[in-house]
């Protein structure tokens, strides 16, 4: 348990079961975890240990079987369904392993999508999206479709999309898994540089040990349990991108 910085995400005794009766499978066994604002928390562990299930529950995409989640002081289970969806639209950004960009939209139109979901006018949304596209260094590719971009470029578009509406929580699921090592480093540097800010928490699920140095804290999972939470030693910090 960490008490020095503001807690963005608080998980208490979170349990998740899939299936019923004899086929019931417990995937999370009473998870306790705090994610702090202004930090990047890496959620690491072997495949099948429950990382993705945990971030799905934190991001309110799945309901826990038991336990409580507080996001920025708000207990999600107490909100009506529509409010929870609104909360997700306004305060959570997503970076997916497979990018999940809309193939029919250009890079800069893709970035505008979260703003459109939040009810922005199209012209204003596209204007704001342009700023973010510039910030991730893709201004020359703004009018390209995803199929015309490399994997790394697509992930940078996805990062811009995840941040365009200024979310309080950024959830990244294996953002470097589909990329080569060099591009993966570039993407992690970018997340570190543009996403980690005061008032925002970043959770990155990864099993790529080469990117561990980009985090502030590493929560290790195994068999549906948090086995260890450690601050990253400054000596391990990535030499090419110093952490604040």
């Amino acid at each position: 348990m960490i008490a020095s910085a503001a807690v963005a995400v608080s998980c208490r005794q979170v349990v998740k079961d899939f299936g019923d009766g004899d086929s019931r499978l417990r995937v999370l066994h009473g998870i306790d975890l705090d994610v702090l604002e202004g930090e990047m928390t890496l959620l690491v562990g072997p495949s099948g240990c429950g990382k993705t299930t945990l971030i799905s529950i934190i991001a309110d995409l799945l309901d826990p079987t038991a336990g409580e989640i507080d996001l920025f002081g708000t207990r999600q289970s107490r909100l009506p369904r529509t409010k929870r969806i609104q909360f997700r639209a306004r305060h959570i950004g997503f970076v997916f392993q497979q990018y999940n960009l809309l193939p029919a939209l250009t890079a800069h139109e893709n970035v505008a999508v979260p703003l459109l979901i939040n009810g922005w006018r199209r012209s204003q949304a596209l204007e704001k999206a342009h700023l973010l596209i510039n910030e991730v260094g893709l201004e020359s590719r703004a009018r390209n479709f995803p199929s015309q971009l490399s994997g790394g470029q697509q992930q940078r578009v996805a990062i811009a999309r995840a941040l365009v509406h200024g979310p309080k929580l950024l959830v990244c699921d294996e953002p470097t898994a589909a990329l080569d090592a060099t591009t993966g480093q570039v993407v992690m540097e970018l997340i570190r540089r543009v996403a980690v800010q005061p008032g925002r928490a970043v959770i990155v699920v990864t099993h790529d040990s080469r990117v561990f140095s980009f985090g502030d804290r590493i929560a290790r999972m195994d068999d549906g349990r948090i086995v260890d939470v450690q601050e990253v030693e400054p000596a391990l910090a990535a030499p090419h991108e110093p952490r604040s």
Binding site: S56, L61, A89, A104, L105, P114, L116, E174
Partner: protein, 379 residues
């Protein structure tokens, strides 16, 4: 997000066009076949509808259609004239005769014998000659299509001579006439002359045509005629529907066309539904991402409905365009003359396409609604 829905649809051109053409061909089959069916059924009653001068048709109560007639006695005409509310009543002969042309060729024709004095029932649109030319000895008026049947390849001209029941007849006029159900030429002559062109019978008065006096409704006078004469009196519209109803009941035409229309409906639903469903399936991950990002089910359903509506509207437009092009291209073909798309067929087709689109999008909407947004985290 409606704009995103449109872009998503437009971004996958192959599926978009597949779904659009599914709807378009469904529209074409439904609208074209229904229009031809309506046109054919209308043809069974065209000789009734062409008589605009009289509102009331009086006939034997056993008559079920305009082609199978039990003749009335001459005295029936006077009985009808004696009914209160009848302004005037005249004779009409309607039957079939055999025409022989020079060279020995012959054809069956529809012969209309008009009241000698008033010529009530005469064609409205004359191409050559005038209606009063019927008063010329042996004069007949023939419809343009009939002229082409009797004298194929010849320029229409007056003065042609034909033979009916060994009596001479001279073409004194050429008119436009609505196509009959059977592709027979339609000949108009005076009543007295018509009786000479057909073999003798005891009674030969096919119908009495009557008009109500001002201040009397058609139905009122029909009821009065039936009460006083025991004959069947129908308005033009009632007689049309009686005839159409007879052909609907006693021929296989509605079933055959009905099957084709149903096939159009099924094929349209199958092609549009399958293609649209595939489109949604392939975009399911994107829909999942949108859902994860906070797009509600309601707005996702609206997006799917917008996509379905665009497919429906564009497909319907193309399909109706193809249907209209078909009828425009064939309007000068004699056998297809008079066929067109009635406005209510277009409206009904639009209704059918709406149902097709509803079914096509129903499965897709269900898939989107039950989609777990967490699917986006699966590799």
């Amino acid at each position: 997000m409606n704009w995103v829905a449109w872009k998503m649809l437009n971004g996958d051109r192959a599926k978009y066009m597949g779904a659009v053409f599914g709807v378009a061909f469904g529209t074409l089959l439904i609208a074209q076949q229904t229009s031809i069916f309506v046109g054919l059924m209308r043809r069974t009653a065209n000789q009734i509808l062409d008589v605009l001068q009289a509102e009331i048709w009086v006939m034997d109560p056993k008559v079920e259609n305009a082609d199978e007639i039990k003749p009335l006695a001459e005295t029936d005409l006077y009985r009808v004239r004696g009914v209160e509310g009848v302004d005037w009543a005249v004779r009409l002969y309607k039957g079939q005769a055999r025409v022989r042309v020079a060279g020995g060729n012959f054809r069956q024709v529809i012969l209309m014998g008009l009241d000698d004095d008033s010529l009530v029932g005469a064609p409205i649109l004359m191409k050559q000659g005038t209606i009063s030319d019927l008063r010329i000895t042996d004069g007949i008026i023939i419809d343009r299509a009939g002229y082409e049947y009797l004298w194929p390849g010849e320029e229409p001209r007056l003065g042609k001579i034909v033979d009916m029941n060994d009596r001479r007849a001279v073409v004194v006029g050429i008119c436009e006439s609505a196509a009959p159900f059977q592709t027979f030429p339609v000949l108009f002559t005076r009543y007295s002359r018509a009786l000479e062109y057909v073999p003798p019978e005891r009674n030969r008065l096919s119908f009495v045509l009557a008009q109500p006096k001002p201040g009397y409704s058609t139905q009122q006078v029909c009821d009065a005629i039936e009460e006083k004469t025991d004959l069947l009196a129908l308005s033009r519209g009632q007689f049309m529907w009686r005839t159409v109803g007879y052909f609907m009941r006693t021929t296989g035409i509605p079933i055959n066309f009905g099957i084709t229309v149903a096939l159009g409906f099924v094929v349209g639903t199958a092609i549009a539904g399958q293609t649209f469903y595939l489109f949604i399936l392939e975009n399911l991950r994107q829909f999942g991402a949108l859902k994860a990002m906070g797009l509600s089910n309601g707005r996702l359903v609206v997006m799917v409905l917008i996509q379905a509506m665009v497919v429906g509207l564009v497909g319907f437009g193309i399909g109706m365009g193809m249907t209209a092009t078909f009828f425009e291209a064939t309007k000068n073909i004699t056998n297809l003359r008079g066929m067109h798309v009635p406005w209510w067929v277009a409206l009904g087709t639009a209704g059918a396409i709406t149902v097709i689109i509803f079914f096509a999008s129903l499965l897709s909407i269900r898939r989107v609604i039950v989609l777990e947004p967490a699917v986006v985290f699966r590799g």
